[in-house]
Symmetry: C2
DNA sequence: CTGTTAGCGCCTTCAA
DNA sequence: TTGAAGGCGCTAACAG
């Protein structure tokens, strides 16, 4: 077959001996085309292997049948959510377009606004925003926020209990006997990071342990930005015996840094993460971590979006799922000081 | 700030008191605009929060700065590749657009051709095709095939050694003492599935074991399509003592079916998969499997694509990576028959 | 039932 | 240095 990947609607029209608008009507199953003509057009479409251009089509019609998933980048966290999102979209008549909008290595505030502006109104009918960092924008299409880093009461949201999760993790370290517990915090401007740090403070406070500010370093959620602060935390005589990291990737990085410094995990240092991405369990030192139900969160966010598009609307504007402690091998009881 | 998510180039032009073409020149850093005018336009752009529409822009200019990753759907296999792809694209000046083009639940042959036709020439400058199923199309943009299911010598390809991997897996089962080994095959029309089945046949042949055709069932790579054949394999008096599944997801499904039938894995049945997706290690019965270096494969495919776009071209038109055996808990030695 | 016309938002000649 | 005009591929009135 003469597969011509670049055939346009004009090629089809010419080849079928009709006008472009007739072809358009056939494609979109509009009334006003005789079955004979329609059949002929369909045959030509098949012969030419014609597919309408998403870009051109979306420019004219408001509906494209494509839903967007806007992420900063494709890393373990977002791709895990993506699986749940994809599962929920299965068989619902939409195609999925996941867009990674962060261009540079620096965290870029508001990348999701940029991505949305580029895609919305044209390419996609609705979107799931993964860890959006700003709020208050005036969205033109149905949008659901998934694990937002900034509060935005104006849009339906799915997240998990960051505060309780952090308390859970630090409490566990306390139960293991640790007293000198550091925090490799996320970005101070992000809501979820603030909550995790607050949970850390709460747990220590409840145990009557004063906060040592020098034991709180900003790791920024990304391995590359976590290296220096992790080293600052560990490369000192009065180093902590345990570290609570704001997410798994920086927790893993912390273990790597510890190993470079000759420290064994968990014998010399306990490390606990947050998220429970698949990588956490597969790392050479399987990571103890606070699990977010990522797959489930993705699934629910897409359900909400579909309901928004249905017009049935999400029953709950905001859904916060529970977090849980997963104990693996990066934590151990504090040995009695000799 | 008056964040107006829908501002167009016309709004910017009017607000800045210039023509659209001037705005366009500023956006695209073309010559022929005074610095004073350019500055004013830039300020208005920032004020309005304007972003050019990807759809509209791509209609006119050939280059969009966006690379596509075309997948059938977002499941553990493709998302694992996506991580490697994303990693390799990091900081290279492109944005990534992952498109899931399979609409229905049925496997659709040639979905990638459809997706490509919808996106290429317009929205994306190049693409990584994940597990494409047809070959021979005339691509208009640089394209790399990742784990293709059909041979296509016309485009650069990254895959892993399916044949050797399958031999490795079945040989391991033989070494454990199994003789009655079933195969839950992939789709007979797909190249990779054929190779895995061939590896199965080779290993049995080398051990002098005749092939029992009734022990080969088509599972089709997807959990839902694997349920019935798995049951057919296990729900019979002369059931096999081990099953080699064409991929992890159907291997996991096989274990679930076995459990439903009251069989314990690995005590009553050994199961081995293929791929080593993260889910394989996290399943309640951690899966013994043949590992493909998925992350690495994704990384390399994107490198190749970038080289294609650079004009430096990939040094190798086809790269086949090695597979390896990962022993976990779904396999056990065959107990001596009582 | 069919074709003509007018844009969607943007970029690119080409004149002024 | 600027702007007007044309057109990318497509859909949606509106005529015929």
């Amino acid at each position: 077959m003469p597969v011509q990947l670049n055939a346009t609607i004009v090629d089809v029209a010419r080849s079928a001996g009709v006008s472009v608008s007739t072809v358009s009507k056939v494609i979109n199953a509009r009334y006003g085309v005789s079955e004979r003509t329609a059949e002929r057009v369909r045959r030509v479409i098949a012969e030419l292997g014609y597919e309408s251009s998403l870009g051109a089509r979306s420019l004219r019609s408001q509906r494209t049948g494509v839903l967007g998933v806007l992420v900063a980048e494709f890393e373990p966290f977002s791709t895990e959510l993506l699986k749940g999102i994809g599962q929920a979209a299965e068989g619902r008549g939409y195609e999925l377009l996941a867009y990674a909008g962060r261009t540079g290595p620096q965290p870029q505030l508001g990348w999701e606004r940029r991505s949305l502006a580029r895609l919305s109104g044209t390419l996609i009918d609705g979107a799931v925003l993964v860890t959006p960092t700003v709020s208050g924008a005036d969205y033109r299409i149905p949008v659901v926020a998934l694990d937002p880093h900034a509060d935005d009461s104006s849009i339906p949201t799915v997240d998990s209990d960051n505060l309780a999760g952090a308390e859970l993790g630090v409490s566990y370290l306390l139960r293991l006997g640790h007293r000198r517990i550091a925090m490799l915090a996320g970005r101070p401007d992000l809501n979820s990071a603030q909550l995790r740090e607050q949970g850390y403070r709460n747990a220590l406070g409840a145990a009557g342990i004063p906060i040592d500010p020098s034991l709180i370093q900003v790791g920024g959620f990304r391995p590359d930005s976590a290296t220096a602060p992790a080293r600052a935390l560990l490369d000192r005589p009065d180093r902590p015996t345990a570290v609570f990291a704001a997410n798994d990737l920086t927790a893993i990085r912390t273990i790597e840094v510890a190993n470079e410094l000759g420290l064994r995990v968990p014998e010399d240092l306990s490390v606990i993460g947050f998220d429970d991405v698949p990588d956490a369990s597969q790392f050479r030192t399987p990571l103890t971590t606070i699990a977010q139900p990522l797959y489930e969160m993705g699934r629910i966010a897409m359900e909400m979006l579909l309901q928004l598009l249905d017009g049935t609307g999400p029953a709950q504007p905001r859904l916060t799922l529970a977090t849980s402690l997963v104990v693996r091998e990066s934590t151990a009881p504090l040995p009695p000081t000799p």
